[in-house]
Structures are given as structure tokens and as C-alpha cells.
């Protein structure tokens, strides 16, 4: 078990999340994929701190902040999605193109 294993897991999780963000059409499903990417970053922080600098808990503290801000982000994003759904009765992001150039 080495740092490389954790970095590999984190990279795989991040790229799966990135695929989800790029390929999905439903706004709520894009949010799920963003959560995956945030978790990948947290794993990377915690693993790097645990293996390279075990006396210092910076990685864990950063991961705690990531969790708190992810909770805030998901609440706000869902409020915006509910609002969009009320206005246009759709959560398909391809139909939300008023700002498209």
C-alpha cells in the first residue's frame, strides 16, 4: 500500500466525475458528478498528508473544509435548479441556452 495507489484511485474517480459533467444532460446528474470530483480531490489531500507529512493534519483539515463547502454548494445549486424547473419546467441544460453566444 503506497501513496501511488491512493493517487490512482483519486485520478480514476476524478476522471469518471469529469466524464459525467461533460456527458450528462440532466442538471441534477451533473451535480452528482461534481460531488464525485470533489471527493476525488479530498482523497488526494488526505492521502498525501498521511504519507508525506504525518505529523501535520493539514490534509484532513482541507478535506473538512471541502465537505462543508460542498454541502453549501449543493444546497445553492439545487435551489437554482428548482427555480429553473419552476420557470421552464425542464432540468435539461441543453434547453437553458439564453446566454449562448
Amino acid at each position: 500500500m503506497s501513496l501511488f495507489h491512493f493517487q490512482l484511485i483519486s485520478a480514476a474517480l476524478f476522471s469518471i466525475g469529469m466524464y459525467g459533467v461533460l456527458a450528462r444532460r440532466n442538471a441534477v446528474l451533473i451535480l452528482l458528478a461534481i460531488e464525485l470530483m470533489l471527493n476525488a480531490v479530498s482523497i488526494n489531500f488526505v492521502a498525501t498528508a498521511a504519507f508525506l507529512d504525518p505529523q501535520n493534519f493539514m490534509g484532513q483539515v482541507v478535506a473538512l473544509f471541502v465537505i462543508a463547502l460542498a454541502a453549501a454548494e449543493i444546497g445553492l445549486a439545487l435551489a437554482i435548479i428548482l427555480r429553473l424547473h419552476r420557470h421552464r419546467s425542464s432540468v435539461n441544460i441543453e434547453e437553458i441556452n439564453l446566454l449562448k453566444g
Partner: protein, 163 residues
């Protein structure tokens, strides 16, 4: 050795759940797959000897975030989109994410560093001391952000009723 086996099992669970999130056609199944992936991430935190983080992960992601997402799916009636959840960019998106995975994995492999020998178990006391001494101002900022987000969510969802 046994740690490695447990890690491989957790990684399989986590990546399988993640694939379920991006591949499932049913949005409710996608949310349940996300729950599985996030709980596996909590297990990975336990392997890294950070129990408090695992606890927070289970409480916030496993509890709050999943329930809120299910509520949002219910309220937006996302099943209307059923069967066509992916857009036309799908092949490009797959290539791009494979490229990113290759780049990150290669750079991690090429830059492997010498690791600290002993691993220290974080106790809640040391983590709390660290959080409330050197990270006090970011901690308060996070609290402020949560408060602002709470107000913002209420205003965004209830503006018509206020008028």
C-alpha cells in the same frame, strides 16, 4: 497485506458506484450509486487513519446530501428525461476524461516521493486543536459562507411568495 486487500475492495466499490452514477439511465439509481461511492470513500479515509473525517463523510454525504438530492429529483420530476440522459458530446467526453486520467496517473507515477516511515493516527483532540488554532479564520469564514448560503437558498426558492 490485509490493508491492501481491503483497499482494493473499497476502490472497486467506489469506482463501481462512480461508474453507476455516470452510466445509469434512471436518476434514482444514479443517486443510490453515489451513496455507495461516497460510503466507500469514507472507508478509504478509515484506511488512511482519519476516523473523524470518515464519520463526517458518512454523516454529511451519506445522510444530508443524498436525501437533499433525492428530494430535488422528486421535485423536478427528472423522470421526464428518462432514457436520454446523455448528450451528443459523449465520445469526446470519454476521450477527454481518459486523457486526464492518463496524465494524472503518469505524473503521479513519475514523481513518486520518499514516504514517511511511521504513520500517525489522528486523534480528535489534535485535529480540533489544529482546527481552532491555525485554521480559526478559515473556519469562521466557512461558517459565514454556510449562513449566507442558507439565506440565499431561502430567498431564491421563495421569491414569489415574498412579493
Amino acid at each position: 497485506m490485509i490493508e491492501l486487500i481491503v483497499l482494493i475492495m473499497l476502490a472497486t466499490l467506489c469506482l463501481g458506484g462512480a461508474l453507476g452514477v455516470v452510466a445509469s439511465r434512471n436518476v434514482a439509481y444514479a443517486t443510490i450509486c453515489l451513496l455507495v461511492a461516497l460510503l466507500a470513500v469514507a472507508g478509504i479515509y478509515v484506511i488512511l487513519l482519519s476516523e473523524f473525517l470518515a464519520l463526517v463523510q458518512v454523516l454529511i454525504y451519506g445522510g444530508a446530501v443524498t436525501i437533499v438530492l433525492l428530494f430535488a429529483l422528486m421535485l423536478t420530476r427528472a423522470h421526464e428525461l428518462e432514457g436520454r440522459q446523455d448528450n451528443r458530446q459523449r465520445p469526446v467526453a470519454a476521450c477527454a476524461s481518459l486523457l486526464v486520467f492518463g496524465a494524472i496517473a503518469f505524473s503521479a507515477y513519475a514523481n513518486e516521493q520518499a514516504m514517511a516511515e511511521e504513520r500517525v493516527r489522528t486523534t480528535l483532540k489534535t485535529l480540533g486543536t489544529e482546527l481552532f488554532s491555525s485554521w480559526l479564520i478559515p473556519f469562521e469564514m466557512a461558517g459565514l459562507i454556510l449562513l449566507i448560503v442558507l439565506l440565499g437558498v431561502v430567498i431564491i426558492t421563495h421569491r414569489e411568495e415574498l412579493r
